[in-house]
């Protein structure tokens, strides 16, 4: 008997403790969990941590405002998970977050992880905003939960195609891609943009992410004498490729997407990287609406510089909180339609979503390697 009663008390205590920890703070505020996922370990963990910090600043700032939703004071809490940039791990942590009663998620960082995870969020009705996944597929699965605050590869491919033909004056163009979801997607969009802009595709060549020897395809390309070579892929291949282009005596311009607009590219390509063009979604930090201010704030808190996408993670988090405020509800089902109708002045610019959840009028910036550094050239699109 005694044992039975103590067991019941134990269960009751558990329930009470559970409720207290999960839904309310000590001062009676309702706890609202927002998930964040990015690679916090592994080779691009610096970017994942950067995103996490962006989201963290947003959550802290929102809490300082003492927001009240549906008459109840709320306290936001960021539950951050590590997907190791691994698609399988991404689905595991996505499920874990869904099970921890999050009302929305900011993430993931990579396209490869964002896409499989988006199915889990969609099935559970959890609104998702990726700060940095650019693959087209993510928002083309007809998931009303999927959003992003960065221009996608379709927009990027178009801008790059137009730029190649109209600004750089390239007529004959050779395209290489690495057969990855990102590289192939970007190259496809680039190709159709070239065709509609009146350029000519001389050849389409392929490689893969395990290769470092591109001499055979580059030699073929050299025989066609293109004005420009476009590469859809990452910096690890683009670096050695650039060296081989110069060694073979090719004089064509080199253009690539955001996978190449990195410091690593410069390290790998060395002096041969000079003159290469690459794009990156969004504006350079200094030209963002609140870029300088955010940089100062970030540095003050973490005593480190922003790596890459932190401002996007910050905006994504605030866009989500903003939608809850307008809906006057933290219930995902209720605030999701409000999220789709966002019009928010973010640090990275004005944020609105189209019917797919893509950023409306997302801008693309172009950079060129000058004296061993990526130099900002111009921004195309956006600010409409």
């Amino acid at each position: 008997m005694i044992r039975k009663r103590s067991f019941a008390i134990f269960i009751a205590a558990l329930i009470v403790a559970g409720c207290g920890a999960e839904t309310e703070t000590r001062d009676g505020k309702k706890i609202v969990n927002i998930g964040h996922v990015g690679p916090l370990t592994g080779s691009i963990s610096h970017l994942g941590k950067d995103n996490e910090r962006g989201a963290e600043i947003a959550v802290d700032e929102a809490n300082e405002l003492n927001l009240v939703i549906a008459g109840v004071p709320v306290q936001f809490r960021l539950l951050s998970e590590d997907d190791e940039a691994n698609p399988q791990k991404a689905t595991v942590v996505a499920q874990k977050l869904v099970d921890s009663n999050i009302v929305g998620v900011v993430g993931h960082l990579n396209s490869g992880t964002t896409i499989p995870a988006s199915t889990i969020y969609f099935d559970s009705g959890i609104p998702q905003i990726s700060p940095s996944a650019t693959a087209i597929t993510y928002t083309h699965q007809d998931y009303e939960t999927a959003h992003r605050v960065m221009a996608n590869d379709e927009q990027q491919g178009k801008v790059l195609g137009d730029y190649a033909v109209k600004t750089l004056g390239a007529e004959g163009i050779a395209i290489i891609d690495d057969r990855s979801a990102y590289g192939k997607g970007l190259a496809d969009e680039f190709e159709s943009a070239i065709k509609s802009a009146g350029g000519q595709i001389l050849t389409r060549e392929f490689t893969d992410i395990t290769k470092t020897d591109f001499t055979a395809i580059l030699t073929k390309i050299k025989g066609l004498n293109p004005d420009l070579i476009f590469y859809g892929g990452m910096d690890s291949q683009a670096g050695p490729m650039m060296k081989q282009i110069k060694n073979l005596g090719l004089t064509s311009l080199f253009l690539a997407g955001d996978g190449v607009q990195t410091k690593q590219f410069m390290v790998l390509a060395g002096a041969e990287g000079e003159g290469a063009y690459a794009s990156s979604p969004g504006l350079p930090l200094d030209q963002m609406a609140g870029g300088k201010e955010f940089r100062e704030k970030f540095k003050q808190i973490y005593r480190e510089d922003i790596q890459l996408y932190a401002p996007y993670a910050y905006d994504a988090t605030f866009v989500m909180i903003n939608a809850m405020m307008r809906a006057n509800s933290t219930d995902p089902v209720t605030y999701l339609p409000f999220l789709r109708n966002t019009d928010f002045p973010g640090v990275t610019g004005r944020i609105r979503f189209d019917e797919r959840g893509d950023l409306k009028g997302g801008s693309i910036s172009l950079y060129q390697v000058v004296n061993g550094k990526w130099q900002y050239v111009e921004t195309i699109g956006g600010a409409d």
Binding site: E205, T212, A216, K220, L248, G249
Partner: protein, 309 residues
């Protein structure tokens, strides 16, 4: 400029490296009948060690003559790889020498994975860049461009391969190696220290692999912990193509494979009217392998069993 000449040249550069690595496969197979799948990883370790030594030398003695820097890096890489190969053979393969053939094969695959992961832990997941020690000069040859590094690759490979053939065919050590490959038992009865010969064979293969690693690192300027895997498979293919166990065959197979890949990638699109693109580069190489094996199961030079080293 002549595109065809350029593709031939690309193929020769690629093929020379394949040949160097293929020799290691074929030597070990000739003696033990073992496919040493860890051989590709030895190439990677060689490149990594050379890069580490070069980096240290460049920061500690920036005034040092570039030739000396490369020489020191090369010697250390070769020594480390030889020691590594000795240890692999001693610890992993020798205890299994009388085991069923599948056991050492699976051990070899295990060693390959182990070495890759150790390298990943030590040197990280990122592609590492190789500092440029010599300024790359580009020359014109029969209408094709060739860099000083590529000339170096072809020359070094040719010298080493000739050297190896001379050792195997004209020295006492070579005779012992050939005898061991004929029959370990009989060679042992004739007073040959079979264990020593097998160790030496592994170490010679590893030395060549280390050089191949350095040449690749110098040519492409990047090294990565996974760089040895595909290269190992290609070199193994080259060895089989030429006739595994046959030294001349490994050289021929390596050069052929390089040429096939290069020409395949360059012309496959035009030959098939755009139906197949350059992503069939590897497929093309392996189809050639299959065709050769269907008509000549022993490989191109495989029948001269008596010359196995």
């Amino acid at each position: 400029m002549d595109i065809f000449a350029q593709q031939i040249l690309n193929g020769l550069v690629l093929g020379s490296v394949y040949a160097l690595v293929a020799l290691g496969y074929t030597m070990v197979y000739g003696i033990l009948g073992l496919i040493n799948f860890a051989h590709g990883e030895v190439v990677m370790i060689g490149a990594m060690i050379a890069l580490a030594v070069v980096s240290i030398l460049l920061s500690a003695f920036p005034e040092m003559h570039p030739l000396l820097t490369i020489l020191l890096a090369g010697v250390s890489a070769i020594l480390v790889c030889m020691a590594l190969a000795f240890l692999i053979e001693r610890l992993a393969y020798r205890p299994l020498r009388n085991a069923p053939r599948l056991a050492p094969l699976i051990t070899a695959i295990g060693i390959s994975i182990l070495l890759q992961n150790i390298a990943m832990i030590i040197w990280g997941r990122k592609y590492k860049t190789v500092p440029q020690i010599f300024p790359t000069e580009t020359f014109e040859l029969f209408g094709a461009s060739i860099t000083s590094v590529q000339i170096f690759i072809i020359t070094i490979s040719a010298v080493l391969m000739t050297g190896l053939l001379v050792i195997v065919h004209f020295t006492k050590l070579g005779r012992a190696m050939r005898a061991t490959s004929e029959s370990q038992r009989v060679a042992g009865l004739m007073g040959i220290n079979v264990n020593k010969i097998i160790s030496v064979t592994f170490m010679m293969g590893a030395g060549l692999a280390a050089v191949a690693g350095i040449l690749i690192a110098g040519n492409y300027s990047v090294v990565h912990y996974s760089m040895g895997f595909m290269l190992g498979l290609k070199a193994f293919t080259a060895a089989v193509l030429g006739g595994i166990g046959n030294l001349g065959g490994a050289v021929l197979g390596g050069l052929l494979l390089g040429l096939i890949e290069s020409i395949g990638a360059g012309y496959i699109g035009d030959l098939t009217g755009g139906f197949l693109g350059s992503h069939y580069q590897d497929v093309f190489a392996f189809v050639v392998l299959i065709v050769v094996l269907v008509f000549r199961p022993t490989g191109i030079m495989g029948e001269r069993v008596s010359e196995r080293a």
